[in-house]
């Protein structure tokens, strides 16, 4: 079979350098094995039958016709789940296969294994499911406001069209989490008050590599799963429970991952393929197509928000009040943590004495929502940044100046009461992004390709107005609110063929961001060796936590660094004499005496290996009544400027340029950092202008790349990027997480620019042409 192999490159570049990624050559040659590329002799294909209804009771399932199709090996339903038929990242509330109730359109109901993917799909159509269809609950506020009518997950649900037996999981009803935050004066006053209501549509991660994997039944009754994921050990925990197998019999290996962005934090085909493999005794491959992918992972929570900002005449914020509703859809996924982020950081990176925020995460029959890059902060940023512009206009003040007057800085107190105890250069980011040169105005030359509408030839400049907008944002790095957030690294040092070689083994998912490169760089710097092998990511080493929350370079990077330090300490024990030692260029060097020994001489045949579990500073849960507490370990900040041209007659927008300044503490790999900022910026712009899963009556209307549009190379403008490095003294190398902030600040800057161009309030994203033309 094809499977991921250990990767190795030889370079001289450590922390702060820009070595090539170890998977790069295979990726450009088309030889890198993604999850959908896996293949094994005798393997068969799995397919999923999904509910066409957002809310229904299953009366019966008849699989006999499907089983009779030639080439079909198995058809499985909820009855075939050997363990707990409930899983979830934070709350185990989601069925592996629907038992008596389906709560969203696309919920898995049955599984088919067959010789060919098409046979499996055709057989799926022959599974007869008899549904009682109910009216779905589709509005987050209604779901809370009318709890007796809407109780999706409540035994009590006594309403007309909803059966009493329908829902029985969450006795607390449709509220997943309410975060209540209160800081300062409960009844503050202000000279100037602005109020606004805002909405954010449902965004999709739209990673290009579809959900896929290969499950191989093992002789010990267990299963080996090769899969594209973000967190092998969280998958393993949930799989063990559903399969009723101990962890040593559920072994996972990361296959090539075609992007993630939060959408692979929950299980997709993991348990399904494993069930089929264990049932048939054959290797089972599952690959979602693009349509199924839209149903196969969680999305970004849509939000409706109401903000009130009060300030004095000089623009000093007196207070901010916010109500944030996040539609979590049918199952919890990571909704509680998304609510935590939206609540604790909902007013943006500003220093405000009086704050009152309520954030709610709610169950509905809409598609389940969970992690996506920016995680709760993206939604809030559209509101808090729109409010800052609105307040600036009310005060007749420059919007950047207003932000700077209220900017959070080192020593500020966050709305949670937590001290900001590392650099927070919010003002500097804003001043710098404002000072970057403006794009050249080319409106004199007629190039259709630079016009809104492009070569569709919709305008030659008439009706086109330019606007400039700014936004700033921040994001917590790592898991917050008391989560035990750790990573494990095993590092080995040995002599191979006369040369020192370090081997790094972690379970941290390389999803494209370049983590393997960073692992190599750290080992090179800490051990002074050229050759670093990064072993395949699997569950044979302890958990690394998730490749999410901008945390892996910090936490797994920290673990690799700590494991290297442990190896180094064991190595120095072998040295007799000087104690002022370091490793450099394959040699042990003493500060006072120079080269002491080469690693080859010192180590000989000895192998030094250490495994270290590494944690960042602890965080703590917030107070349930006030939201006060030391909830976060680190924040990362970015600011954007957007320049847009808007064709006001047709409502078409051309983003002319995006500029970003971001503080990354320390850039471990500068080009990779810039790549993260560019890609994150694109996703934020996508949400501002075009990306929305359109859901009507609980059903997705656009599950394809024909109808769900992500930015193309024609949509993306040139970007100016400036990276600052103000070390965080608490973090390894002073680094800050990088991946998420640009996704948070780019979208609000784009909308601000369109507002500046058109004068329209624009309270909903994505901004559609009809919002601009008033049609």
């Amino acid at each position: 079979m094809t499977s991921p192999t250990a990767t190795e490159t030889v370079t001289t570049t450590g922390v702060g350098g820009s070595p090539q990624r170890p998977d790069g050559v295979r990726k450009v040659r088309g030889e890198f094995a993604y999850a959908s590329d896996l293949w094994m002799d005798g393997m068969i294909w799995g397919a999923t039958l999904r509910s066409p209804h957002p809310f229904a009771r299953i009366r019966s399932i008849d699989v006999s016709q499907a089983l009779a199709v030639a080439g079909v090996h198995a058809v499985l339903t909820a009855d075939d789940v050997p363990g707990e038929n409930r899983y979830g990242l934070e709350l185990a509330d989601q069925p592996v296969l629907a038992d008596d109730t389906v709560r969203y359109q696309g919920e898995p109901v049955a599984l088919i294994a067959a010789d060919h993917p098409e046979i499996a799909r055709q057989a799926a159509k022959r599974v007869r499911v008899n549904y009682d269809v109910w009216e779905p609950v589709t509005d987050a506020r209604a779901a809370l406001g009318r709890p007796t009518w809407n109780m999706l997950h409540d035994t009590a649900a006594p309403a007309t069209k909803i059966s009493r037996q329908s829902a029985h999981l969450h006795p607390k009803g449709n509220l997943v989490r309410h975060l209540k935050l209160r800081k300062g004066d409960p009844e503050p006053t202000a000279d100037v008050v602005v109020v606004g209501e805002y909405e954010v549509g449902m965004q999709d991660q739209a990673f290009l590599g579809p959900e896929s994997g290969l499950a191989v039944p093992a002789a010990d009754g267990g299963v080996d799963l090769f899969v594209a994921t973000q967190w092998l050990h969280a998958d393993q925990r949930q799989m063990c429970s559903a399969l009723r197998l101990p962890p040593e019999k559920v072994r996972l290996t990361l296959s090539g991952v075609g992007g993630a962005f939060g959408g692979r934090e929950d299980l997709s085909m993991h348990v399904h393929a494993s069930l089929l493999a264990l049932h048939t005794g054959k290797p089972v491959k599952m690959v979602y197509n693009r349509e199924e992918s839209f149903f196969g992972h969680v999305h970004r929570h849509p939000a409706s928000m109401r903000f009130e900002h009060g300030a004095d005449r000089d623009g000093r914020l007196a207070y901010v009040k916010a109500e944030i509703y996040l539609d979590g859809g049918a199952y919890a996924s990571s909704t509680p943590a998304v609510v935590g982020n939206a609540g604790t950081m909902g007013i943006g990176p500003y220093d405000v004495d009086n704050v009152a925020v309520d954030a709610w995460g709610v169950y509905t029959n809409n598609p389940p929502c969970g992690a996506m890059r920016g995680f709760g902060s993206v939604q809030a940023a559209f509101a808090h940044e729109a409010q800052m512009d609105k307040l600036a206009a009310e005060l007749g003040m420059d919007p950047v100046e207003l932000r700077c007057r209220n900017a959070m800085r080192e020593g500020s107190t966050a709305p949670t009461g937590q001290l900001i105890d590392s650099p927070a250069p919010v003002e500097e980011l804003l001043r710098r992004v404002q000072a970057l040169p403006m794009p050249v105005d080319r409106s004199g030359e007629l190039d259709l390709r630079a016009m809104p509408g492009g070569v569709s030839n919709t305008t030659h400049g008439e009706g086109v107005v330019r606007g400039v907008g700014y936004a700033v944002a921040y994001k917590n790095v790592g898991f917050s609110e008391g989560f035990d957030d750790f990573s494990t690294a095993r590092v080995r040092l040995e002599i191979v063929g006369g040369e020192p070689v370090a081997t790094v083994h972690t379970a941290a998912a390389e999803v494209g961001q370049g983590l393997e490169t960073v692992e190599q760089q750290i080992a090179r710097t800490e051990l002074g060796v050229e050759r670093v092998v990064v072993q395949a990511k699997d569950t044979q080493v302890g958990s690394a936590g998730s490749s999410s929350a901008s945390r892996q370079t910090y936490v797994t990077g920290g673990a690799v660094k700590a494991a290297c330090e442990a190896v180094r300490a064991s190595l120095f024990v072998l040295v007799t004499g000087p104690t002022d030692l370091r490793l450099e260029g394959g040699q042990v060097v003493s500060a006072s005496e120079g080269v002491v020994s080469s690693l080859a001489e010192l180590l000989g045949d000895e192998i030094i290996e250490d495994t270290v579990q590494w944690r960042h500073r602890p965080t703590f849960p917030v107070d349930p009544d006030t939201g006060q507490g030391v909830a976060h370990v680190q924040w990362a900040f970015s600011a954007h400027r957007a320049v847009v041209d808007v064709d006001t007659e047709l409502g078409l927008v051309k983003v002319v340029e995006l500029a970003c300044v971001q503080d990354v503490g320390k850039a471990l790999n500068p080009p990779a950092v810039v790549g993260q900022i560019q890609g994150g910026t694109a996703q934020g712009m996508g949400l501002a202008l075009m990306e929305e899963i359109v859901v009507a009556d609980g059903k997705i209307r656009n599950p394809s790349f024909t109808d769900y549009l992500i930015p193309t190379i024609l949509d993306m403008p040139p970007m100016q990027i400036e990276v600052l490095e103000y070390a965080d003294p608490h973090a390894p190398y002073g680094l800050r997480g990088v991946g998420e902030p640009p996704t948070i600040s780019s979208g609000p800057a784009v909308v601000a620019a369109i507002r500046a161009a058109t004068g329209l309030p624009l309270t909903r994203v994505p901004v559609r042409p009809e919002h601009l033309t008033g049609m």
Partner: protein, 155 residues
């Protein structure tokens, strides 16, 4: 059915091909050439771009039977042994590869673009690559890669 075709200069044969199968499926699942990618399988992303008799097509939109007797060149057939094609090298050097799922399709597309237009302007590059989605990079480094490849090829 049986399909005979030449892939990367090698005569190949796929047996038991079902009518509805695409060229992409045959390459990936029957001929052990999974380099061409399957991001959408409906002609919207360009990740499956291959040369078919010298023209770049979306392999997911070509029925397997249509490839009978024809010549296909995929991303796996661009390098000269160990030596990468300048376009592949430029994607590496420019940092245009993150997850890399878009990369094979883009590399084939750029390979074709530079044959037709060795010195494309930025707007021309953008137009040529408008059908190739990338979710990771924001395209800036892809533009860099194309400019670098053009430069290398010119010297």
């Amino acid at each position: 059915m049986r399909v005979n075709l030449t892939v990367n200069g090698v005569a190949m044969q796929a047996d038991d091909v079902w009518e509805g199968e695409s060229l992409l499926y045959v390459l990936r699942e029957r001929l052990a050439l999974p380099g061409s990618k399957n991001a959408c399988e409906q002609g919207e992303c360009g990740s499956c771009s291959v040369y078919l008799d010298g023209e770049v097509v979306c392999a997911c939109l070509v029925a397997a039977g249509q490839a009978q007797g024809r010549s296909v060149r995929t991303v796996e057939g661009l390098a000269d042994g160990e030596r990468l094609d300048p376009v592949q090298q430029a994607f590496l050097d420019a940092g245009a590869v993150q997850c890399g799922f878009c990369t094979p399709g883009l590399i084939v597309m750029v390979h074709d673009l530079l044959q037709r237009n060795p010195q494309p302007s930025d707007p021309e590059i953008r137009e040529a690559l408008a059908g190739n989605l990338c979710r990771c990079t924001g395209y800036e480094k892809i533009l860099d890669a194309v400019r670098q490849a053009a430069e290398v090829k010119a010297t």
